[in-house]
Point group: C2
Chain length 286, copies 2
């Protein structure tokens, strides 16, 4: 049983108002009855949207050992979204040098990392996002080869024909619906799709029908849904991989930090409108 304080990031994608208000957060232990945790330890993992919490089962929390990077990174690039990007790209997409990679919601916490991983591997990388500012971020700061604002594309199929004249090898799927349908038309043989989320569909009464699934057969595509929750055993390996890139500035990470617990609900709703700019974090200890 711990009392902790600290950051709380957005809850995971299955959050619905009225359910217990979990989130991925960073916290400091104030008091602990658990042998592995003592007062002053920093931890990250599933916490609550509150300034002080009692955590009855702290075994799931992960202790923070490296504090030369911003603590908020443990809600993002070094935490759940970072591991999601790492697992999704390296384990699920089976990437190869030079392949053509498309990432939707590319300016988000996961997408921005997947794009940079793909660039490190020598892939051609295009991302979609929902504003000019995000598109500029992808192209000018995160090193994507191309990026486009999906809201300004009247015909997504034509967009893909333009950005991927030879087709897409890997699609990192965060969006679903019409985007997936257009991607399917433009996949290459033996392509892979890592389905990380389908944010365009979560709040619809009736999900959009995807009509081009026959291309999975024609092109022998693997479409693989995954959840980081199955892969936490890879976190130590991931840290060894990730920390040097951060320290050397070879991987850039963009956060959108709002102050105070009271800013949390608006930040959450903003995610579904695309108002966040990078990983949305709520700093509740400022």
């Amino acid at each position: 049983m711990e009392r902790i304080e600290g950051y709380s990031s957005q809850p995971n994608s299955s959050f619905t108002p009225g359910s217990p208000i979990y989130g991925y957060g960073v916290a400091k232990v104030l008091d602990s009855g658990h042998p592995d945790l003592k007062a002053g330890d920093l931890v990250w993992g599933t916490t609550y949207w509150e300034e002080y919490s009692r955590i009855p089962a702290p075994e799931g929390l992960i202790k923070i050992h490296h504090t030369d990077v911003p603590l908020s990174y443990y809600t993002g690039i070094l935490g759940m979204p970072g591991l999601t990007a790492y697992v999704g790209f390296y384990e699920i997409c089976s990437p190869k040098k030079g392949e053509h990679v498309f990432i939707s919601a590319a300016a988000g916490a996961v997408g921005q990392l997947v794009g940079q991983f793909a660039k490190l591997m020598g892939c051609y990388v295009v991302g979609s996002a929902g504003s000019k500012e995000k598109v500029d971020l992808l192209k000018n700061k995160l090193g994507f080869d191309e990026a486009f604002n999906y809201k300004e594309e009247a015909d997504l199929n034509a967009s893909f024909k333009r950005y991927f004249p030879e087709g897409i090898d890997i699609y990192f799927e965060n969006v679903g619906g019409k985007m997936l349908d257009a991607v399917l038309l433009n996949m290459r043989a033996h392509g892979r799709i890592a389905a990380c989320g389908m944010i365009s569909q979560y709040n619809l009464d009736h999900a959009e029908g995807v009509t081009n699934l026959m291309h999975l057969v024609y092109k022998r595509i693997r479409l693989h849904g995954f959840s980081v929750s199955d892969h936490y055993h890879l976190h130590p390996k991931f840290m060894q991989f990730m920390l040097p890139y951060i320290r050397q500035g070879k991987i850039v990470y963009v956060e959108d930090i709002v102050e105070g617990l009271e800013s949390g609900p608006r930040a959450l709703v903003g995610l579904f409108k695309g108002l966040n700019f990078g990983k949305q974090v709520v700093d509740i200890s400022a």
Copy 2:
């Protein structure tokens, strides 16, 4: 350059009227300029819908060495559909003993074999088909645990809840559309779907939209389109596996053989109406 005569099975799924009339057939070589083939050899592979053919590139044909089984089997259980079932089940589905397996179009050339492979592995196996006769075949002759006529099910989701109260681990997909949508609701975590075909969608002007793809993420499902054309190197291993089961009568195979090339078009159209009973074969040498 060979002149060959013999069986011709249905063409593959990408056949459209007006295109070159290829099919998977069994044939006897009448004359050959190729060093690996001589008059009298029996072969199977891509042939044409005609009684005598010139095959300009016979390298793709596979020589028949075992004639103690019906020659028509090389259009089916020992040929392309058999290898499709073998690859699709053992390579794509990653099956484990005791898993719960659903097969659509289960009385077809591929489905009936997948079901028997799954039973050999100790799985619980349910198939769908489009007539009472086919359902009886699946349950009484092919050893499926359960089978149902999808045309008599008003609510496929309810059907799956009935046949798979604990959910589906493996779906061998031959149908697409509404069937896939209902299956997705009933898959278990870490399930696998081998997409072999989507016959319900081929002749629609607009494919049915599949709306439950978010379950791929929720349940971390792998949906993998495949084509036997990528796996012909496994055919020798497949023959070693398959022939003993056939000779010992441990795997049963049902064919629907019509006589004469003139019966071909009607048999082809019948496939899309589900009129065939087992693997559709056209015997053009009778």
